[in-house]
């Protein structure tokens, strides 16, 4: 999956959206939980406060209060987290729960009788305390009225623990839900994207010439794309064919008049042999140029081998050998073909014929008795054709000269240079390579690597 993968983009965007959405949900839920917890805490503190006031007993002589037994047993044990104290109007502690040992309550200024205060207080090394106080005017039997402040404090620890558990559960569940949702989404996306993968596969098959056009069974959204792509391919192929055909027709239409001019020329024995020779030379040059350009055009057309079925090499080679046998019967060449049936060329059949034909004809012309044509798969997708003869051989230095445009090494066999150069041009257009070495038969061996299928 690349950086620009659609699936990755969708999954990433959705993952971000889910995190934001779930994060906001968790925050909102926690806030509302916090509010309801603090309400519950208040109620608990108020109940403790009321209980504290209820169990307070007056000490008449001293105009003070006493607490024979705290309302909640936890107030007796230091680690219980529940504390209480009672102060008089001067702020002196009248009673203090044993659990509050070592804890100093920071009281806000005293308010009027009957007022209830609520506040939180930080605690060194602890979660903090929630406090509540109430001031009460106590009327003694002798009619004296004394103001007392009742304070209850409870550790925040239980609330905090509840909040933590809630948050943990929330995040855990939401996280699992998010992962499950993303997984489902990934699966759905895979299903949705499957036709895209198929299109990609089919296009790749077209590139490797295993397919001529896209198939027709597509989901509605892709049907248009596939149809347009097919139409484009057809148009492009048609355009290419027309271009090649018109170029070929142009050149070929020149050839018949050229042949006529050549045939019409009187023999060189007539009055102006020099000029006739010149005309002949020019005619030959025109012919060579046309031939060269035609081959170049053919080679240029070869490169875009999209959607061409692979061509089996063996039948093409045996057809060419039969043709050459017919055309050069006097040479008595015996041709040995060693081409496995599995060897196929990825490209145009005409181009393969052109390359093999030129190379085999050279072998026929330059060999004495024997020509050998073999082929093999040298790497995945690459085939090598080897054409050998038992002639004089071709010096590698001169071979590169022969590969140069239009060079002709041997005037007694005109066209050799052009033939080899044209083959080279085609081979290069297919991204292959042509090399010349010495053959085991004694003559030249031309090795051509080409795309296989």
């Amino acid at each position: 999956m690349g950086k620009d993968s659609l699936r990755q983009r969708v999954l990433l965007s959705l993952a971000i959206a889910l995190v934001v959405f779930f994060g906001a949900t968790v925050a909102a839920l926690e806030w509302s939980l916090g509010a309801s917890l603090s309400r519950a805490r208040d109620e608990v503190l108020e109940a403790q406060l009321m209980a504290l006031i209820a169990v307070a007993e007056p000490v008449e002589e001293a105009h003070s209060l006493q607490l024979p037994e705290p309302p909640d047993g936890r107030m007796l044990s230091p680690d219980s987290g529940l504390h209480a104290e009672i102060r008089d109007a001067r702020g002196q502690v009248v009673w203090r729960s044993p659990s509050a040992l070592g804890i100093e309550f920071e009281l806000p200024p005293r308010a009027g009788a009957g007022t209830r205060d609520r506040w939180l207080q930080a605690e060194v090394g602890g979660p903090g305390l929630a406090l509540s106080s109430m001031t009460i005017d106590w009327e003694f039997e002798d009619g004296a009225v004394e103001s007392f402040r009742f304070v209850v404090a409870q550790s925040l620890e239980p609330w905090r623990a509840q909040q933590r558990a809630f948050r943990l559960g929330l995040v855990g569940w939401f996280g699992a839900l998010a992962v499950a949702m993303l997984a489902i989404l990934a699966f759905v996306l895979r299903q949705v994207m499957r036709p895209l993968g198929r299109i990609e596969r089919e296009i790749r098959e077209m590139e490797t010439a295993r397919r001529e056009q896209l198939s027709s069974e597509w989901p509605e959204e892709l049907r248009g794309v596939a149809a347009n792509l097919n139409a484009l391919l057809r148009r492009e192929r048609g355009r290419q064919r027309r271009y090649q055909e018109s170029l070929a027709n142009l050149a070929h239409s020149l050839k018949t008049p050229l042949a006529a001019v050549r045939a019409l020329l009187p023999d060189s024995g007539s009055s102006t042999p020099e000029r006739l020779g010149m005309i002949r030379g020019e005619l030959s040059r025109m012919d060579r140029i046309i031939g060269w350009q035609l081959r170049r055009a053919a080679a240029a057309g070869a490169a875009g081998g999209v959607g061409i079925a692979p061509v089996a090499v063996a039948p093409v080679a045996s057809d060419l050998a039969a043709t050459l046998d017919k055309v050069y019967p006097d040479r008595g060449v015996s041709c040995e073909l060693d081409i496995p049936e599995s060897i196929s060329f990825r490209g145009d059949e005409g181009d393969l014929q052109e390359m093999l034909g030129n190379l085999l004809e050279n072998a026929w012309k330059y060999g004495r008795r024997r020509v050998r044509c073999s082929a093999a798969n040298v790497a995945p997708g690459i085939i090598a054709l080897r054409i050998e003869d038992d002639g004089e051989g071709l010096d590698p230095a001169r071979a590169s000269e022969a590969l140069a445009r239009g060079a002709r090494l041997d005037e007694s066999h005109p066209g050799q240079g052009i033939g080899l150069a044209a083959v080279n041009e085609l081979v290069c257009a297919y991204g292959g390579a042509l090399t010349v070495e010495r053959s085991g038969l004694g003559g030249a061996a031309v090795i051509v690597t080409l795309p296989g299928a």
């Binding site: 050839k255 050229l258 019409l264 060419l320 017919k326 006097d330 005409g350 014929q353 052109e354 034909g357």
Partner: protein
């Protein structure tokens, strides 16, 4: 020798016909495939030159039609397209050789000679009868290693007989193959030329290369070297 030339380009056909006639061929010309097929059946040519791009009936169809009628005559195709695809297709359809336009007329004539020689069953370019040797491509005749001077007509007459060595060739066939249609057909001239050939090829009268079969025609009587 009689040749059928099927080519739709008038200038090229005309120029070729002139060159071929100059080389001693009897040439029947056709400008399209149908006329070519008709002439091939009517005149029984020794060789046919067929352009591939013909109107009415393509050269390929013409060759296929000829082969369909069991016509064995050798066919040379002319094509402007020197793609191997076209050559292979042409030779697969039944042609025996091809030439790519534009070509040298001399090469065409040499190829025609070779085609006729091969269709007469001679695989080698030299027709070897021991003391007598023929080289049709060069129009050369050697007697005991010495070249024999022959006129164009004498050579054509001899070649026709040699290519049919061992077969009887009638006088009318010779006239048909060696003279133009509008030529005054006097069969006595054949006799005169045969007489001259005999004197040139067999001055001592021991070889007797050409036999006369009374009322039937002539026969080249030597056996090829190595075919005894």
């Amino acid at each position: 020798m009689r040749a059928l030339l099927v080519e739709d380009d008038d200038a090229l056909r005309h120029a070729l016909a002139v060159a071929m006639r100059a080389a001693g061929w009897q040439v029947d010309e056709a400008a399209d495939g149908r006329e070519g097929l008709y002439l091939a059946e009517e005149t029984a040519p020794d060789v046919a030159i067929v352009d591939l791009g013909l109107p009415q009936m393509s050269g390929m169809d013409l060759i296929a039609a000829l082969r369909g009628k069991k016509q064995r005559l050798p066919v040379l195709i002319l094509t402007a397209r020197d793609r191997w695809q076209d050559k292979v297709a042409g030779l697969k359809a039944g042609a025996d050789d091809y030439m790519v336009k534009p070509f040298h007329t001399e090469e065409l004539l040499a190829r025609l000679e070779a085609l006729v020689r091969r269709s007469a069953g001679w695989a080698q370019p030299v027709l070897d009868f021991g003391v007598l040797r023929f080289e049709p491509a060069a129009q050369r005749v050697e007697l005991r290693g010495e070249p024999v001077e022959l006129t164009s007509f004498e050579y054509r007459l001899l070649e026709y007989l040699v290519l049919r060595a061992g077969q009887v060739v009638s006088r009318s066939e010779l006239i048909d193959r060696l003279y133009d249609q509008d030529y005054d057909r006097d069969s006595n001239t054949i006799e005169v030329f045969v007489g001259r050939l005999r004197r040139k090829l067999d001055p001592d009268g021991v070889l007797k290369p050409i036999e006369t079969l009374r009322g039937r025609g002539y026969r080249f009587a030597l056996t090829p070297a190595g075919r005894d």
